[in-house]
């Protein structure tokens, strides 16, 4: 009996381990390929798209020869990727800053206060969360145009400050907090602002971290918004919309570009990993 359980345990472990490897392979491969020389990569990528029934692409995991040529190209010689990278970073930073000011406060109001229309508002937020971007695309463009924001960076940044999904996520967490926490502080004479800043926010750390990481993923991967709101401004596009074009041109440095693009997401992930796990565990999922 004991032995059998041991065998099953090993089997599950092996299965999950293989799956983990497959899931991580795209990132690993990107980093390995990024150390191949530009000429090498160009030649390799040219073998793609052949429909010759006899020919195969060479399967390789790592470069034949280690080289920093791709990185030299994107970091020093040609600053296209770097410029787009800076754009992306700017958008991400400004969006996250705005969200930090607006979203937890709104979640606090929705979870800890009673006022007329609260439930209707929360319901509207859930409905908005369900819809794809394109549903309100046209009216949004018209609103932004009338405010004079279209084709400026703010057209991408401002609407993201009020992302319904994160209001929902943080509100669900705050609803689950024990009421005594606030009562005790109120009896000690703390006002709402104090309670919010000194008690609610610190206690919500896991979900705030989780939301920040997930929102970072959204910002770093913005596609629809820049394509519609910044249609006439190629210079303001982030990496997420332009990277694909660069990769198609067979420049030879696409993997170093991809590696550079992945790296911040990797850091954010490592930094907030435990928050994501515990934040979701503690959230009221109903």
């Amino acid at each position: 009996m004991r032995r059998k359980r041991g065998a099953r345990f090993a089997l599950i472990c092996a299965l999950l381990f293989i799956l983990t490897l497959v899931m991580l392979l795209p990132m690993i491969q990107t980093f390995l390929y990024s150390f191949s020389s530009i000429e090498d990569m160009k030649a390799y990528m040219k073998t793609r798209g052949s429909f010759d029934g006899e020919a195969w692409m060479e399967s390789r995991l790592s470069p034949a020869m280690f080289s920093l040529g791709q990185y030299y190209q994107i970091l020093i010689t040609d600053n296209t990727v770097l410029r787009l990278f800076v754009n992306s970073a700017g958008y991400t930073l400004l969006i996250l800053l705005g969200q930090a000011l607006v979203i937890p406060a709104m979640a606090f109001a929705l979870s800890r206060f009673r006022f007329p229309g609260r439930d209707a508002l929360f319901f509207a937020i859930i409905l908005l969360m369900l819809l794809p971007f394109q549903v309100t695309m046209v009216p949004n463009v018209l609103t932004l145009r009338s405010m004079g924001l279209l084709n400026t960076v703010w057209s991408v940044i401002l609407p993201m400050w009020f992302s319904p999904f994160y209001i929902f996520l943080i509100r669900q967490f705050m609803v689950g907090l024990p009421g005594e926490l606030i009562e005790a502080a109120s009896i000690d004479g703390a006002g709402t602002a104090r309670v919010y800043l000194n008690i609610i926010l610190p206690v919500c750390r896991p979900i705030l971290g989780a939301a920040a990481a997930l929102s970072f993923a959204d910002c770093w991967n913005l596609v629809e918004q820049p394509l519609t709101y910044l249609a006439q401004r190629d210079d303001l596009q982030p990496l997420s919309t332009m990277f694909n074009q660069l990769a198609k041109e067979n420049t030879g440095f696409e993997f170093a570009g991809a590696a550079l693009y992945i790296l911040p997401a990797l850091f954010v992930y490592m930094f907030f990993q435990s928050d994501i796990l515990s934040g979701i565990q503690l959230t009221e999922m109903k």
Partner: protein, 284 residues
């Protein structure tokens, strides 16, 4: 719970203003576009736009594909993440490495990973090598109906981790003796999964299903990156239709298609919520 309303205002107002301005007002204002003709007089035309759009071949194709893709993606994602989190629960407390690695793809930018995807699914690439090894014919993955597979796989790859985390959190709350008892009684793994585990985690299971479906409806980035604005017919989504109508400045068609879709989405999720409430009442 605070009852004094005016204290809520400073917290609520900035967010409320933004939500109204950038989400609710456009949503309501857009209705106007879907019932006018868009000429310089902007005459009221009732449901004419809706009739036109619903008759449009490309709209129907997009709607059909979006529905089909989400019906493939969402249940598959739900089932896979349920089974994997059960397995993960079996080997607790080990498996932390797995849990944290599968979450990583959720944060990865699609376009950076896409090159690898294109390599894997190339006609001469590893996936076809695997097929040849198994004695099957090679497939042209990046064209036509076969393109759905890489897109579905990319969707699963990206969203699996998040769903597993939600499931795993719910599973950890189930007391262990319940399973020990069931095992003593001779219940199989599958019986345990569907008669003990699933009823106990209905809220989380439901949430995962909803999130999976929301994200499945939003599959567009991947299609756009692989196929451009006009991808092959089997993967032409509703978002492609709306974007293309937008770039032709046909705002009437975009909003009409958008609201048609919104109504379908709301009806669908409304039905799901209703079923979930019923299911939960049935269990209590």
């Amino acid at each position: 719970m605070y009852t004094k309303k005016r204290y809520a205002l400073p917290f609520l107002l900035p967010g409320l203003a933004g939500i109204l301005l950038f989400y609710i007002a456009p949503f309501i204002g857009g209705v106007w576009y879907s019932v006018t003709d868009g000429s310089y007089k902007n005459a009221f035309v009732g449901f004419q736009n809706y009739l036109n759009v619903w008759k449009n071949q490309m709209f129907r194709l997009g709607l059909k594909n979006t529905m089909e893709l989400s019906l493939i993606c969402a249940p598959l994602l739900w089932l896979l993440s349920f089974v994997l989190s059960l397995l993960l629960n079996r080997i607790r407390p080990s498996g932390g490495f797995f849990q944290s690695s599968v979450l990583l793809p959720y944060l990865m930018p699609s376009s950076a990973v896409l090159i690898i995807w294109l390599l894997w699914f190339d006609f001469g690439g590893p996936v076809n090598r695997l097929f040849a090894l198994l004695g099957r014919d090679r497939v042209i993955w990046l064209e036509g109906a076969a393109l759905r597979l890489p897109i579905v796989l990319m969707f699963l790859w990206k969203n699996l981790g998040f769903c597993i985390v939600i499931f795993a959190a719910a599973l950890q709350a189930i007391p262990e003796p319940l399973y020990e008892y069931a095992t003593l009684e001779g219940a199989t793994f599958r019986q345990q999964a569907f008669t003990i585990t699933l009823p106990l985690i209905v809220p989380s299971a439901f949430l995962v299903f909803i999130l999976a479906w929301i994200n499945a409806f939003k599959i567009f980035k991947e299609v756009y990156f692989i196929g451009g604005a006009y991808p092959d017919e089997p993967v032409y989504t509703l978002q492609n239709y709306m974007n293309n109508m937008y770039s032709k400045l046909n705002y009437q068609n975009v909003t009409t298609a958008a609201y048609s879709f919104a109504v379908i989405v709301f009806a669908l999720f409304g039905l799901l919520f209703f079923l979930q409430k019923r299911a939960q009442r049935g269990l209590n």
